[in-house]
Symmetry: C2
Amino acid sequence: MPKVSAAYKAARRDEIIDAALRCVQRDGYRGTSMAAVIAESGLSAGAIYGHFAGKQEILVAVAERVLAGRQADLEAARVDGQPLSPAALVSALVGGMRLEKATRVIPQVWAEAAVDPEIAEIAGRIFLRVHRLLRTELAAWAAAEPGRVDGDPGAWADLVVPAVIAAVPGFLVQRAILPQFDEDAFIAALPLVYRG
Amino acid sequence: MPKVSAAYKAARRDEIIDAALRCVQRDGYRGTSMAAVIAESGLSAGAIYGHFAGKQEILVAVAERVLAGRQADLEAARVDGQPLSPAALVSALVGGMRLEKATRVIPQVWAEAAVDPEIAEIAGRIFLRVHRLLRTELAAWAAAEPGRVDGDPGAWADLVVPAVIAAVPGFLVQRAILPQFDEDAFIAALPLVYRG
DNA sequence: GTCTATAATAGGATAGAC
DNA sequence: GTCTATCCTATTATAGAC
């Protein structure tokens, strides 16, 4: 029997993750100190370190939280009936991302992933899950549109998935960096450049 | 008359930028200390601070160096004669990027740009230059293919450029993060998903 | 301009009381 | 589990000799 309920523990963890998320959104991962997370959460050093071993472990939790949202978007976009074309899938993916408030956090996670294997593993896992979902959808679409795709639908889908998913980093990076970036115009343009 | 030749000064700066680039490529911006840059360059603290005011100013120089390469790629891809389609442009852009050895540096710059206005300004400037080049090319293509594009070619190009350029972050992020990422397959897939 | 040595401090993490 | 106070290393930047 744990000393405090698992629910309490989870709630505290969530508070801390919330606070850390706001810090990273505001100042980036590099610019976020433990002192900042402590202040933002309203808790104390002791409380934080009671739930996380250190700063890196907090980013792991933040990354899991934010990246898991992307997977949810995609599952929500699945419509029964006709499978989605490349253009429709890209729109669904980016459209979901549009609602994400933590606009600047994901690029921070990617930068850290490029250098920290544990973060890379988390980011890679999400990419792979999204890959699999897209692959299924695209293979079905290719099979239903035999005139448009050469060869085996599965092989075609495997090849094409990374190019389809690429729109997501493209959207997030431009949104995070360009002050005058127009989200709605970007989404409107997707069907004009992607096939399907 | 300066005490040392401008050429000497520039060469020293370049040495330092080279060293910093290797550090950031290896450890990320956050993981790179001034001590690391000093060791990597074989110089001393005094020498470094004689040429740069601090760490941030070195990243500015690194960012300028690496991002400027992207612009060069694109200018090299311009062929006289027929303007390039969206698919052809994306392939040219990503194909150029493929040769960039500093695979992990650009995501570091983007992450820092999300949080540091001076880095954002540099990254934004490069994006805008590439935007303009693409816009010209795409407007010409649209004008030459009247059946495929509705309305004014210039307006169409303005809308479409961000979606076309999005493939670049998509490529770089996946390459930096996914251990099994296949660059050649990605490039081969581009014509399959982009129109033109 | 560049070196060595060092100052100054920021930041991650822990100790011990409650 | 959480708080306050504090330790201690890592790190940026400077001072002064050459």
